[in-house]
Symmetry: C2
DNA sequence: GCCAGTTTCGCAAGCGCTTGCAGTAGACGT
DNA sequence: ACGTCTACTGCAAGCGCTTGCGAAACTGGC
């Protein structure tokens, strides 16, 4: 039904090879001929057959995007941003969600991308060396978001600095008992390796720098959900000497923490301060103080790295510096404010 | 680099046609031969070339998913659910985000999907007749989520019933001045046509049934964001005779409304009740009473409809009945509770 | 042990595009 | 006016797989 090069050639009174070259702006075709061909194509409503083109060239002009979980804001945002630059550049985006260990295993077991994409954008997954090799073995250029591997481009966040900054913010406000609400892998999750571990390190560093002791009781690690964050917050509150502030490794955990605190009648930030991590789409809605790590930018830069790699550029390795966004869930601890008032 | 049918054929000592048939479970191959071929393929790590197969068959085993905005929870959730059933069925998922009117126009102007997918899953976009025709003209089977068109499968939500149920819930609690916080298209948005209009209708119906007057001043229509919801809520509060409850056409608007209310010191649900619409991932976090309309199920069913259409089934047209999820943002109006106390 | 009827396979012609190489036609110099 | 270059364009051989059709092998029945 759709016209082929042949029909365009016929109409433009040239050979198919000329059509092919004219339409792809390949030199060696006179301007006049090129124009004639383009017009013929236009009139016929010609559209190239991707399959045929791919078969002949061996390249697909498609990049696969693999994520552990599509419905999480972070991943969706990264994909959206990456997708825009990719499709802008004329690439198709193939979506791959690896939401269970089984899917992950199956995906890396065979050459599942062979002939489907030229490159892969891997978000958040911590690839094992052989997994990376499996991808590259299929001739895929690979770019990583949220991890770093030899031989692949990557975009990472300075999470340690981020964790430290979040914690410092609370220290500067006068808090001295600050908890950390971290992320632990859920059972069925395919992430494999927890990148935000650096956030915890940053937190610890900040405490040490401030001359405060590390207290294991103030560190939790739970599944990255609102409910888990809420539960963990409850646990902190039952401590003998509860913290007065918490830095959460994600905004979702922070949401949960805030919910718990307000639920038991505590005021945030009056009685307790919370800082999140992500600058989630809805962070503003609850006025959450949080670390912004340019989620969309991560996607954008990874996509650009891929485009670069596809045109022969060497692997690049970018870093993003998170920055604190102060909103309404952080304030000096009550003790200090009382003191200030009595001044 | 990767092996081809030819090499498999050679190793299994059969012809390429036999390999092709054996690997695809096409009858006419003896069990013994089939096994031999499969083993040979296995040993060689053979993977079919999609391009070649597509070129030869004309089918791509790919379905395109088009959404207006990927990073919104609703869309991401629908895609995730649909993607799971599609990839389970062996289909690739091609992602298309039409986030601006320009992109939308360009997309429908040419045969952009020709040879790229066998079917399209259109989420939320209200297709103009010629847009639908453009897709079908490219030989695409099409399934719609959130709209309905002659000649295409679709999955829709009984939004009118949903709007009515949400409103009734508030009426039953004793509210008499209930506002509606609706969705209006943003300027640069490609949605084109507002499906949730039915939610407003349901709201009005419920009021009429309860013998209450419709008050235009109690109906707002804003962009579907937390901030816009917050602003609209502020407007409601400045009314001469403010409402005591609001039904929002989305959870995001509801989040904004709640934020405004609590921001000015009003208690929710003590002083004001709010019911949302979506049962957003984070609705639980703020304990939002809302209408659940099975978002994942919409994706799943649409994907199933597509698979059906691809195997020759006639267009189907499913409906989903939303249900109320009562959480913590709705309660009787203060007036009534006082009365109850004095009892 | 021979023939008709089944199975099981292989041949070869595409599918629609790309590209190395060869051929043709102007352009230019002398 | 003729040879030499350069600039265009066409030929044809793939790319790796599918599939209609005919050939070969095998099954029984007699």
């Amino acid at each position: 039904m759709p016209p082929t090069v042949e029909q365009v050639a016929e109409r433009a009174k040239v050979s198919v090879s000329t059509v092919s070259r004219a339409l792809r702006d390949i030199p060696g075709i006179s301007a006049a001929t090129r124009k004639r061909v383009q017009e013929a194509a236009e009139e016929l409503g010609y559209a190239i057959s991707p399959s045929a083109s791919r078969l002949a060239t061996g390249r697909t002009r498609t990049v696969a995007v693999v994520v552990p979980l599509l419905a999480k804001w972070f991943f969706a945002e990264v994909i959206a941003a990456a997708g825009r630059v990719l499709s802008q550049a004329g690439y198709d985006v193939l979506l791959v969600e690896l939401s269970t260990p089984e899917l992950r295993e199956a995906f890396f077991a065979g050459p599942r991308l062979h002939g489907r994409s030229d490159a892969v954008l891997v978000v958040a997954l911590q690839l094992a060396p052989d997994e990376l090799a499996a991808l590259q073995g299929q001739g895929q250029a690979v770019a990583l978001v949220g991890s770093e591997r030899e031989g692949a481009s990557s975009v990472r966040v300075e999470d340690r600095a981020g964790g430290r900054a979040a914690t410092r913010h609370l220290l500067n406000l006068g808090h001295e008992r600050i908890a950390f609400l971290g992320i632990r892998e859920a059972e069925g999750s395919p992430l494999g390796g927890v990148p935000p571990a650096e956030r915890l390190q940053g937190y610890r560093e900040a405490l040490v720098e401030a001359g405060l002791p590390e207290e294991p009781a103030l560190e939790a690690a739970v599944e990255n959900t609102v409910d888990a964050g809420a539960a963990a917050m409850s646990a902190f509150l039952t401590a003998a000497e509860p913290p007065t502030a918490v830095v959460a490794a994600s905004d979702e955990l922070a949401f949960g923490a805030v919910a718990t605190l307000r639920g038991v009648g505590l005021s945030v930030p009056g009685d307790f301060s919370v800082v999140g991590y992500d600058n989630h789409e809805l962070a503003g809605a609850v006025s959450l103080t949080t670390m912004d790590h340019g989620v969309a930018e991560q996607g954008r830069r990874a996509a650009e790295a891929i485009l670069g790699a596809l045109s022969g550029a060497p692997a690049s390795s970018g870093r993003i510096e998170p920055r604190l966004v102060v909103r309404g869930t952080t304030a000096p601890p009550r003790r200090l404010r009382r003191a200030a008032q009595t001044n």
